[in-house]
């Protein structure tokens, strides 16, 4: 409806303050990038010609169009060698990249994507989603993306409008709000039983307060280490030297007053990075031998993650 393939029956739709009904429909559409599920590339036009569709329609000269096509090819990751091929010679993923490039050709402020990744297999879909997120970092468009896949929506969106049958708006919120505070039973059912887990997918370790946890320097004595273990109420202590995490020492070994560096340590099995999702961290903790995960911040010891810190990160927002 935004590009008037369906005419609105009532209400107002504005783009940059202009009512969409106040301009010629073809002009409106040329200012909106359009990507559809079946891609809809023109089979009789080469990849380059497909991308150039809107610029040519707008009357750009050859030079400018060619430069723009090349630029877009780089942006979406298409080799220049593909520009002379026909769409049928490309894989599904490549076709969808061409579709995105074609939609962006005239640099429209708004991009409409109608189930853009519905027709590709899950692996390719995942990659295309990553690419879209990376692309958005560069182009900063207003993207309206329609999908039936709630996980895709949660992953890609800044804001989600959840529509019920008949186009009834059930909730309009950020992914985190949608999961934390579903407006009604429909939304709750739609986002699924595991919405807590899904929220963990959205958050990264970097969002947690970095806590040092029961960790001592390698130069510390076992007496000091024992005090740390007792203070945290745990049976083991992490050992760090020169900002690198060496491993875990068992509490039963902390008796002879020696320096920690001399004790045998078990290498950490659960290791996450600041970019890891909380869900990923939790999985590692649940399946690892220790009840904490070590944050590896580019080789440096960044702190530890425990189930408690993960739980409190979800809980602390409940009240806010």
């Amino acid at each position: 409806m935004i590009n008037r393939l369906i005419e609105p029956s009532s209400g107002r739709l504005e783009i940059n303050g202009t009512d969409i009904l106040d301009q010629p429909v073809t002009e409106l559409r040329r200012n909106i990038g359009y990507v559809i599920q079946q891609v809809g590339l023109f089979p009789h036009r080469t990849v380059g010609q497909n991308i150039a569709t809107v610029p040519r329609t707008l009357g750009w000269d050859k030079q400018r169009t060619a430069e723009r096509v090349e630029e877009l090819g780089r942006l979406v990751g298409l080799e220049a060698a593909m520009f002379d091929r026909y769409p049928d010679e490309l894989s599904g993923g490549q076709q969808q990249r061409v579709g995105v490039a074609r939609a962006l050709a005239a640099d429209p402020p708004v991009l409409l994507m109608d189930e853009p990744f519905g027709a590709v297999d899950p692996i390719v879909r995942n990659r295309l989603q990553d690419e879209l997120l990376a692309l958005q970092q560069q182009v900063h468009k207003t993207i309206v993306l329609v999908t039936h896949d709630i996980d895709e929506a949660l992953r890609l969106a800044d804001r989600i409008a959840l529509l019920n049958v008949g186009g009834i708006l059930e909730q309009y919120a950020t992914p985190d709000d949608l999961l934390r505070d579903p407006a009604n039973e429909f939304v709750e059912q739609f986002v699924g039983q595991d919405r807590g887990m899904k929220r963990l997918t959205l958050k990264t370790v970097a969002e947690l307060p970095y806590t040092q946890g029961p960790v001592v320097d390698a130069t510390a004595t076992t007496t000091e280490a024992l005090a740390v273990a007792e203070a945290h109420g745990v049976d083991w202590v992490g050992v760090v030297r020169d900002e690198r995490f060496l491993g875990w020492a068992d509490r039963t070994d902390l008796t002879n007053g020696a320096v920690m560096a001399d004790l045998p340590v078990a290498r950490p099995s659960a290791r996450v990075t600041p970019d890891s999702s909380l869900r990923n961290a939790m999985e590692l903790i649940m399946t690892g031998r220790t009840s904490v995960a070590v944050i590896d911040d580019g080789g440096r010891f960044g702190g530890v993650v425990t189930l408690d810190t993960i739980r409190s990160s979800l809980g602390s927002e409940l009240g806010s």
Binding site: N3, V25, T26, Q38, G40, H44, D88, E89
Partner: protein, 224 residues
């Protein structure tokens, strides 16, 4: 009679071919002219009818029904029917021949437009092409393989039907065939038949070749 034919009346007598070369050439040229004129006129009318059917969908059945009805009229009868109006002229020959091409040309053109994927049509609209641009730049090129296939059939069948127009004194190579039949002299008949077959094959090949050049995207297969 067959004994006579074997003895004194061979399938082809080359002296006759040499002696009557001017007549053969003239028949050949007339045959090509009648074919091209008929198919050209048929294409023009078919294009108009197809455009109407595509623009006003409910008209599709009446139009194809009418073209189908024309196709059922025996050619000999149709030539005869037009003689009182146009005499033994080229017009009398071309009109029925053009009519017979309508069915195949219209149905193939419509099939071609129907075969355009709806996603392609949606994409064209969504990118702000005007309806005219969509038809001319997207739908027509994509329908072209179907239109060309129809044209090939129309040309081949017209080359055959032109011979029938010999009964009203036109007919190109058909006159040679008729002449041979009347005189029980096989040479002109053989020449007329063979040349019209060769002509049909050559024209068919020509359109096929031109069609391939016009639709390069149809010859490339998926490589990945």
């Amino acid at each position: 009679m067959s004994i006579v034919a074997e003895a004194a009346n061979p399938i082809i007598r080359w002296e006759w071919v040499v002696d009557e070369w001017d007549q053969i050439r003239e028949a050949l040229v007339q045959h090509i002219e009648l074919t091209v004129l008929s198919v050209a006129l048929g294409s023009l009318v078919a294009a108009i009818l197809s455009a109407i059917a595509l623009r006003y969908r409910p008209m599709t059945s009446p139009i194809t029904g009418f073209a189908g009805f024309l196709y059922t009229i025996p050619s000999v009868a149709l030539f005869g029917l037009l003689v009182p109006y146009f005499g033994l002229t080229r017009t009398t020959a071309v009109l029925p021949l053009a009519m017979y091409t309508l069915l195949i040309l219209v149905t193939n053109t419509l099939a071609g437009f129907d075969a355009v994927p709806s996603a392609v049509r949606d994409a064209a609209d969504g990118m702000g092409l005007t309806p005219t641009q969509r038809v001319l730049k997207v739908e027509l090129p994509l329908a072209l393989p179907y239109i060309i296939a129809g044209l090939r059939i129309a040309v081949v069948s017209t080359v055959g039907l032109v011979t029938v127009a010999a009964i009203i004194g036109q007919g190109g190579l058909g006159r040679l065939i008729l002449d041979g039949l009347r005189r029980t002299f096989w040479t002109p008949m053989t020449i007329g038949a063979v040349l019209s077959i060769v002509m049909a094959l050559l024209l068919d090949g020509l359109i096929y070749g031109l069609g391939r050049m016009a639709t390069p995207w149809t010859q490339r297969a998926r490589t990945t």
